[in-house]
């Protein structure tokens, strides 16, 4: 049975105070909190078997390598990849996207087309813009409607034999929209285009089965799903990763080095130059264990309850406008109240111990679409409660009083 009060005991940070008030943490879409089970795994690594992996003959190195590769296997199983070496451990989503974008600069020709959605995070726009500058490829955009839903008929019209890559987030960070990735993938594949799905916002809330969805590339960060910062993954189909050139040169990614020629290591090492974030990788696996222990269906159902509750309560506030009202949403509410600046609301809420995100959420095109400078964004996790939402509503009313 899911009992949020028991779950909360796993997260030591949830019992601290901020500015004299109990912390209410509603910035989960930016980063999630870390349970003891994951913190202990990190501490255990440094206390007991810290050493460099993949090349030591000594026991510690073997233990660290085993733990690191076991984590890779957990990630593989979680996303249902066919092979463990299709999981590249990276420093996070941004790094993962850059590996693919950089690789495509040797594949694309002038006049090739890439398609992006109107609701992307900057990290899923800028690397591709840089790629277009390098190659002469053209970037096209799938527009969205007011509710924050992509215009799929326009997407279809944009697709052609020239389309080489489509990159869309599974879930929008600014709006919470769950995008129809199955349909996007099928349609993109029908013209021979490959698809990269940015799963940073989706993976804390729902499981993506990369084989069932026939995903070409899937990327995410561990810190969004109860893991540490500085580690993430790039899933890619084996045959695709084999055609991509390496991103960084260095140790670990080579098979043989002479001054005349270096041959690269096989997957996944080809993309894992240098000493990786070993403790982070192991903890990534522990975070997936933790979340799977609770169960993603349970998490999704409870978070949906929080979303519905928060949406109803927020709508009772006069002058409050919600941005992003897609029928399929994760537990994210982006809003503004009358003409009050999000920064002002965020500052008052912080004084009351409530952490929300304010600003453009690294998605300026989304803000431009709604012609607003930014929003206040409350994003919920399975360790949040309805009581905390009530505290936010009280705080918002206080902020309105002060600011209007």
């Amino acid at each position: 049975m899911f009992d949020v009060n028991n779950i909360r005991k796993d997260f030591p940070i949830l019992s601290r105070t901020v500015n004299g008030n109990p912390l209410v943490y509603f910035d989960n879409a930016a980063t999630s909190q870390t349970p003891n089970q994951v913190i202990e795994v990190i501490a255990d690594y440094y206390r007991n078997y810290n050493s460099n992996i993949h090349r030591g003959v000594h026991t510690l190195s073997q233990e660290a390598t085993d733990a690191y590769e076991a984590a890779r296997n957990k990630i593989k199983t979680h996303f249902n990849a066919a092979k463990a070496h299709e999981i590249i451990l990276t420093s996070g989503t941004t790094h993962s996207i850059n590996i693919v974008a950089s690789g495509y600069s040797e594949i694309l020709k002038e006049g090739d087309e890439l398609i992006v959605s109107a609701m992307e995070h900057h990290s899923n726009i800028v690397p591709w813009q840089m790629l277009c500058e390098r190659t002469g490829a053209i970037l096209k955009v799938i527009p969205m409607i007011q509710s924050g839903v992509l215009e799929m008929n326009v997407f279809e019209a944009l697709l052609s034999k020239k389309t080489k890559l489509v990159f869309v987030n599974h879930v929008s960070n600014a709006l919470g929209t769950v995008n129809p990735i199955a349909e996007i993938i099928t349609k993109a594949h029908s013209v021979g285009a490959k698809v990269l799905i940015d799963g940073a916002q989706a993976s804390p809330h729902l499981k993506a089965d990369v084989q069932a969805l026939d995903i070409d590339y899937y990327v995410t960060s561990a810190h969004k799903l109860c893991g540490p910062t500085g580690v993430g993954m790039l899933y890619g189909k084996e045959e695709l990763l084999n055609t991509l050139p390496p991103y960084q040169g260095g140790g670990e990614m080579i098979a043989e080095v002479t001054f005349e020629k270096t041959t690269y290591a096989d997957l996944p090492h080809k993309f894992e130059a240098g000493t990786p974030n070993i403790a982070g990788g192991i903890a990534f696996g522990a975070a997936l264990d933790y979340m799977n222990g609770i169960g993603f269906d349970t998490i999704a159902a409870y978070e949906h309850e929080l979303l519905e509750y928060a949406t109803t309560k927020l709508k009772e506030i006069e002058g409050l406008k919600i941005y992003g009202e897609a029928p399929q949403k994760t537990a994210v509410v982006s809003f503004n109240i009358n003409e009050i600046h999000p920064y002002d609301i965020g500052s008052i809420l912080d004084k009351l111990g409530i952490a929300v995100r304010t600003g453009h959420h690294c998605a300026q095109p989304v803000m431009d679409f709604y012609k607003i400078p930014g929003t206040v964004r409350a994003s919920f996790s399975f360790y949040n409660t309805k009581e905390e939402i009530d505290l936010m509503i009280i705080a918002l009313n206080r902020a309105i009083q002060m600011l209007q």
């Binding site: 002002d344 965020g346 600003g359």
Partner: protein, 140 residues
């Protein structure tokens, strides 16, 4: 009044309040008295884009003193600008260059001058100092 004197005066004013809400309400009130930047200067050149809020600032030289006008799209940011400008405006460029903003800590608003807030205030102070350097050269 010297910058130092004005800052001490502000510290005294804020010492009257016993909680943050009163301080914030007073700061918001002060924001309303901010000498607003003339619309003609509210240009992209004068804009300081924070990730969070926008700040505009403009300077003019009156004999040997600098006079600042400004604005922001966020009320709290505007309140802090008003406090800062009260200390820097109508001062000699060399005094502006020598002044610091440590008094903001003492009135309990430190967090707003943190670069992580990305509200444009840190850049605004830099901009004010740049104006002071520019006009000081002009005065020589």
């Amino acid at each position: 009044m010297s910058i130092q004197d004005i800052q001490e005066e502000i510290i005294e004013e804020f010492a009257m309040f016993d909680d943050w809400m009163q301080r914030y309400e007073y700061m918001i009130e002060l924001g309303k008295s901010l000498p607003l930047i003339d619309e003609q200067f509210k240009t992209d050149d004068n804009i300081i884009k924070g990730c969070q809020s926008k700040v505009w600032v403009h300077a003019e030289l009156n004999s040997d003193q600098l006079e600042f006008t400004a604005d922001s799209d966020a009320i709290i940011t505007k309140g802090i600008i008003a406090i800062l400008i009260r200390t820097f405006s109508n001062q000699h460029p060399k005094d502006i260059l020598a002044a610091d903003t440590a008094f903001i800590d003492q009135i309990g608003l430190k967090e707003h001058l943190s670069p992580t807030r990305a509200n444009g205030l840190v850049s605004m102070i830099k901009q004010i100092k740049m104006y002071a350097i520019a006009f000081q050269t002009q005065l020589k």
